[in-house]
Symmetry: C2
Subunit: 287 residues, 2 copies
C-alpha cells in the first residue's frame, strides 16, 4: 500500500482523492493546499501547507494545481525522493518540462509521469497507437463542445476576472473556437481583461471570444468530450470519449501515479510507459 499525497484540492485534486479511495494498492495520506483547512468530504485526511509538514512522508504525490505552478513544486518533490504524476497541459511546453523534471527525478532517484491527463495523456496514447499503425495519415483531435478545465483555470488567473468558464467548440479537423464567459470584478477594465485573456498562450492559437456576464453558472458543466479521428479510403478509426472532466483526469492521474512507481528513475510521458503498468492487475482479461 503506497502512501500518496495530493497537492491541490480543487476539482481535480478532489477527483484524484476519490479515485485513490478505489485503488487497492495506494492510500491517501494527506492534502497539500494553500489554506490549512480540511477538504470537504475528506475531513479525516491531514492537510498541510507543505508536503513535508504532513504527519507521514508520502511515497508518491499527485499534483493537481494549475499547470503554470507545477514545475517548481514537482521538481522539489522529486528531488526529495517522492514519485509524482501531474496533468500539466500546455502542449508546446511539454518537452522542456520533461527535460527539467527528468533532471530532478534522476537527482532524487525516482520517477514522474508528466502530462498525464485527458489531453495530453490518455489521448496521446491513443494517437500514438493510431500513428503506429497508419503513420502516413493525419490524426485529428476534436474537443467538446464542453468546458476546458485548463483554459478555465487560465482565464481565472487574469487580473480583473472574478470568475470564468472557457467553452471549447469544435470546428472539425482538429480546429476549435473558444468562448470565454467572464464575470468581471466590480471595477475591472473590461477591455484590458479581454485583451489579457486573448493574448494568453492558452488562447492565442484559437478563434476566441470573450463575453462578460453577471453569472457564469449557466455555462458551468464539467462534462466534456473528445473525438480522435483518422479516416481515409477504407480505413476509419474514431476514438470517442465523453466524461466528467475532473473525474476522468483524477482517474488518469491515479493510474499514472501507479505507473510512476514502476519506471526507472526519470520523467515520462504516458506513451513511453507500457499500458499494463497503469493497471492494478488483470492484463490477461484485456488481451
Amino acid at each position: 500500500m503506497k502512501k500518496i499525497a495530493i497537492i491541490g484540492a480543487g476539482n481535480v485534486g478532489i477527483a484524484a482523492a476519490k479515485a485513490l479511495l478505489e485503488a487497492p494498492d495506494m492510500e491517501l495520506c494527506g492534502f497539500v493546499r494553500r489554506e490549512e483547512k480540511t477538504v470537504p468530504g475528506f475531513e479525516n485526511v491531514p492537510v498541510a501547507k507543505n508536503v513535508f509538514e504532513l504527519p507521514e512522508k508520502p511515497e508518491g504525490a499527485i499534483i493537481c494545481i494549475p499547470s503554470r505552478l507545477v514545475e517548481p513544486v514537482e521538481a522539489k518533490l522529486l528531488e526529495s525522493g517522492i514519485y509524482t504524476a501531474d496533468c500539466f497541459d500546455i502542449h508546446g511546453e511539454l518537452s522542456a518540462m520533461r527535460e527539467r523534471l527528468n533532471f530532478s527525478a534522476e537527482k532524487g532517484n525516482v520517477s514522474c509521469v508528466t502530462g498525464a491527463g485527458w489531453d495530453p495523456g490518455l489521448d496521446s496514447v491513443i494517437r500514438t497507437m493510431i500513428f503506429s499503425v497508419f503513420p502516413k495519415r493525419e490524426i485529428y483531435t476534436n474537443f467538446g463542445p464542453g468546458m476546458s478545465m485548463g483554459h478555465t483555470a487560465a482565464a481565472k488567473t487574469v487580473p480583473g476576472v472574478a470568475d470564468a468558464v472557457s467553452l471549447t467548440l469544435p470546428l472539425g479537423k482538429g480546429k476549435h473556437a473558444r468562448k470565454i464567459f467572464v464575470r468581471p470584478e466590480p471595477k475591472a477594465d473590461k477591455h484590458a481583461v479581454e485583451h489579457a485573456i486573448l493574448s494568453d498562450g492558452y488562447f492565442e492559437h484559437d478563434e476566441c471570444s470573450v463575453e462578460f456576464v453577471e453569472d457564469i453558472s449557466p455555462y458551468f458543466n464539467t462534462r466534456h468530450g473528445v473525438r480522435i479521428e483518422q479516416n481515409f479510403g477504407a480505413q476509419a478509426i474514431n476514438f470517442n470519449m465523453a466524461a466528467d472532466n475532473p473525474t476522468l483526469t483524477g482517474n488518469i492521474l491515479v493510474s499514472a501515479m501507479r505507473a510512476s512507481f514502476l519506471q526507472k528513475p526519470g520523467a515520462y510521458f504516458m506513451p513511453e510507459i507500457p499500458p499494463c503498468d497503469f493497471c492494478e492487475k488483470g492484463l490477461e482479461k484485456y488481451l
Copy 2:
C-alpha cells in the same frame, strides 16, 4: 536498416511485405513459404522453404502463418537469435503461448511480440488503457459485420472443405454469431464437415451456422471492423475502427517487429510495450 524475413506469403504476409516497403527503418530480405516460388508483386525478393536458406540471415522475422502452426516455427527462429513478431489469435492460449516463447526468446537472447494483430493486439492496448482509467466497468468488444481471417483460415483446414469464408455478426455487448460459407470438396461428407467446423475451438463458443455454397466469392470481403465500448452514466468511451483486415494486420505486425528489437530478451504482449516503441519516430507530434 534491419533485415526482415516474412514467414508465409498469404494475405497477411503480402500485406506485411507492403507495410515493410513503407518502413524507413526495416527492409524485406526474403519470404519463407512452402513452395519455393516467387511472391506476386515481389518477384525480386528471395524465397526459400526455410529461413536459413535465404541469401541473408534476417535480424527479424514476421510470422504470417495460421495461428496453430506458429509456435514451433517461432520458437526455432528465436532460439536462432532472430527477433520475431506474430499475430497468433487464439485468445485462450495466449498465456501458455507467451510462456513457451519467452523460454525460446531468452535462450536466443532476443525478443518477440506475440498476439500482435488486430485482436489480440491493437484492441488489447485500447482495452488496457480504457481499463486503466475505469477499472470497475465492463468493456465490450464487438466485431463486424465482416470476414474473420482467423476463423476463415481455421475453417479452410477442415477436411472436406475446398474453400470457406467465416463472417462475424455482432449481436451486441461483445456477443457474436458466425456464419460459415463452405464450398465442399466434391465427395465431402457435409454432415461431418459441419460437425468438424462447429466443434473447432475457434467456433465452439459462438452461435455458428454452416451453409454450403458452390461459390464463396460473394461472401469474400476483407473489410472488417470493431467497436470497443465502455458506457455507464455520464461516461461513454467508444473506439471504432474499420479497415481492410490483412492491411491492418500487416501494418500492426511491422510496428510490432520494430518494437521487438527495442525490448529486453523475452516474449511480450502489445500492452506490455511502451506505445512509442511501435513508432519509427515523432512521439512529440502525437503528445
